[in-house]
Amino acid sequence: MKPILEMKHVTKRFPGVLALDNVSFSLKQGEFLGICGENGAGKSTLMKILSGSYPYGSYEGELHIDGKPVKMDSISTAQALGIEMAYQELNVMLDATVAENLMVGNLPGGKYIVDFKKLYNMTREFLDKVSVDLDPAQILRSVTNSGQIQLISILRAIIKKPRILVLDEPTTALTGNEVKQVFAILEQLRKEGVSILYISHKLDEVFELCDSVLVLRDGKSVAFHLINEVSQNQLIEEMVGRNLENQYRHKNVSTDEVVLSVKKLHIPNPNISTKNIIDELSFEVHRGEVFGLGGLVGAGRSEVLGAIFGQLTNGVKKIIEIEGQEIQITKPADAVAAGLAFLTEERRSSGLVINMNIRENISLASLKKLKGYPAINERKETKETGRFYEKLRIKAPSQETRVGNLSGGNQQKVVLAKWLMTECKVLFLDEPTKGIDVGAKREFYDIIDELTQKGMAVVLVSSDMPEFISLCDRCIVLADGKAQAELAGDEITQVNIIKEVV
């Protein structure tokens, strides 16, 4: 049978990163193809090319549909070709009705007026067909079951009768029964000849649903299998690869002394009342230790850091002890005062003040120490921030340069310098080397070595697997709101971590 979709030698570059490297695959009518890979393997880039989010010309290579090359320049051209996508995030309109959510973009009626009667009838017909028990006229906010809401974002793609349906982690908010319901709908689509690209971390689901599977790693397609010719273990090994010979290995200098103890951390999910992001999590971090929070994107790793630090407060319950003393942290100021520091994932939105210069950014969390009543002691400030400016080798004309003019790596160093100046006891690092180049990364690791030798404890979240493995002395792996395993030293390997989450 002729393939309905072919992707030929597609390469997509971002500044400094090769997101997709010469990827080719084909999809037949009625075929369900699973796409597997770790964080950053290139799955979402692939998806965005297919959906037209990255228009033709922004990547190399070609897309063929029904054997003919197509140039998709927007999402709507992709939709016109019959490609629909259901996204991982719950992007629905909570204050609109079920019917409006499903039919948004092609509401029936005239040019200016919506024909609601027709809308509800069409939706009712569709919902009956897929046997989903929802009232088309119900406002979405009143649908208390979150699984049903995720179901709607899937149905929204299906109702347009696509030829190719792309599903990105469609079951993250669903319970077992709801997953079955979704699979039943998808099986129905298979009979109608719809092809599906199924992106998922959950290998069980891939094995249950898909006919074949494509493995991506570091932007390359490393393997293609028919599903009955491959085992789960083989897939895991292919996802992880074996290129683990790192030149860098963090020296373990951790002690037995507990600096930070977190007990019964509980973080509710703001969108889904029945599901918690984190359930009763407890862990301890020792002086001089690099402690890792492993897991996939969306497992709640950053939320754990934010909740401890007092950035995230809604419904969070926790008991925090620092050096054996229980501390109430209700806002970040409490955490800073207690000796915690938090280098967040998004330096532009929560790490820097772009309008300020390097000196002002570095001193921002330590202004209390620069008291020279009533003004800031500027001479002392320049001297203190200058120490970190030089130690971290921030590259800029001077300390008075605005941080907006710096490269990503140097900006990250400014944020780090800000926290080091507070003389913190525990440093939270969330994706600390995201978007910075290899040389700067290596410098960053050396700094962490030096800090831990001086007795600082580091809590690390990183999706860069080699980095995570080489830095961590000990880690827990988060999935489904719980610590699935605790690994230490040589046990921390990619295979061991992935095994806990798939």
Binding site: Q311, P332, S349, V353, L364, L367, A375, I376
Partner: protein, 323 residues
């Protein structure tokens, strides 16, 4: 040539430069028509008008740098003037009458700060609501009547000074301006204003108490507005129910002309000084050149837009100089 380039570059880097350019431009234009404009006594007249605006605009700059919004200080001006007038009529000693007016400003500032920072109501609408409520309250309390005839020594506050034409108002306004310039540029509080306006989340994570800092900025504006109410009552020998109405947006424009961004994070008190001087300069210049004062609003509106355009041009220049 190189030197000139350097000066140009320096000028470009200052956010006050559009206001400065326009202050000078108008000065040259008006002087060309009528040279009395640059005589010291006329300049002092302009400064006197400036000082009433500046007294509020200086703390307002801090508030706007912090990314906050206040649309009710005009009614605070009126209410404080009237409070002061009543106290004087009850023969309360002058210093206590003034303190009473300031206390009234402080109370309204606290109310506003609690509604915005603790309860979390949106600033624009809430302060607008307070403005309406207060102006209504003032009419109810006064029946729309002015309170007139104050003691000589009180009137002196607004009508005299250490030297002829160098009124006390000017001196107090300049002192207040210097104080706020110092607060904004040199102190921890000032740094917190810039940080909160520049990036709220970063400031919060750095341990800055956002609620407290924005609260202070609101109270500062209201207390200074009350002070203006006192000065206005003294100057006109009359506390009027509408003494401050309609000044809110005007003063915010003055601050913006001085280079402060409406979104917060940037601005200086020096720029605001220039912005307020520019507004008084236009008023005065129109009179001296015998242009109908009907032109006033038209010219002011054009200047406001021009200032924003100049600022945009300046930022583009800086950006292109970097490449």
């Amino acid at each position: 040539m190189k030197l000139k380039n350097k000066t140009m570059q320096k000028l470009l880097n200052k956010e006050e430069s559009p206001a400065l350019i326009m202050v000078l431009l108008i000065m040259i234009l008006v002087t060309a028509v009528n040279s009395t404009f640059v005589r010291p006594d006329n300049l002092l007249d302009i400064l006197r008008t400036t000082s009433y605006n500046l007294l509020i605009a200086a703390p307002l700059t801090c508030l706007m740098v912090c990314g906050e919004m206040d649309l009710c200080f005009g009614s605070v001006v009126s209410l404080a003037g009237i409070t002061c007038g009543w106290l004087l009529q009850m023969e309360v000693p002058i210093p206590f009458a003034i303190l009473g007016a300031l206390a009234c400003g402080f109370a309204i500032g606290m109310l506003k700060a609690v509604l915005l920072c603790n309860v979390g109501l949106p600033g624009f609408i809430t302060t607008l609501g307070i403005q309406y409520a207060l102006s209504g309250l003032i009419l109810l309390l006064t029946g729309g009547q002015c309170i007139n005839y104050f003691p000589e020594s009180f009137k002196a506050l607004g009508q005299r000074g250490p030297l002829p034409k160098l009124y006390w108002t000017i001196i107090v306004a300049l002192v207040i301006t210097i104080v706020f310039h110092f607060i904004l540029s040199k102190t921890r509080l000032g740094r917190s204003f810039y940080a909160i306006g520049g990036n709220r989340e970063t400031a919060k994570l750095a341990g800055i108490n956002i609620g407290k800092v924005s609260m202070i900025s609101h109270v500062m504006v209201s207390v200074c507005a009350a002070l203006v109410g006192v000065f206005k009552a003294a100057r006109f020998n009359s506390a009027q129910p509408n003494a401050g109405s309609g000044t809110e947006l005007l003063l915010m424009c003055g601050v913006i002309i001085g280079g402060t961004g409406i979104a917060g994070g940037k601005g200086t008190v020096i720029g605001t000084l220039l912005g307020c001087f520019l507004m008084a300069e236009i008023d005065n210049g129109l009179i001296l050149t015998r242009v109908s004062s009907y032109w006033n609003n038209l010219i002011f509106g054009v200047i406001l837009i021009l200032a924003l355009a100049l600022d945009l041009y300046r930022q583009k220049k800086i950006a292109s100089a970097k490449e």
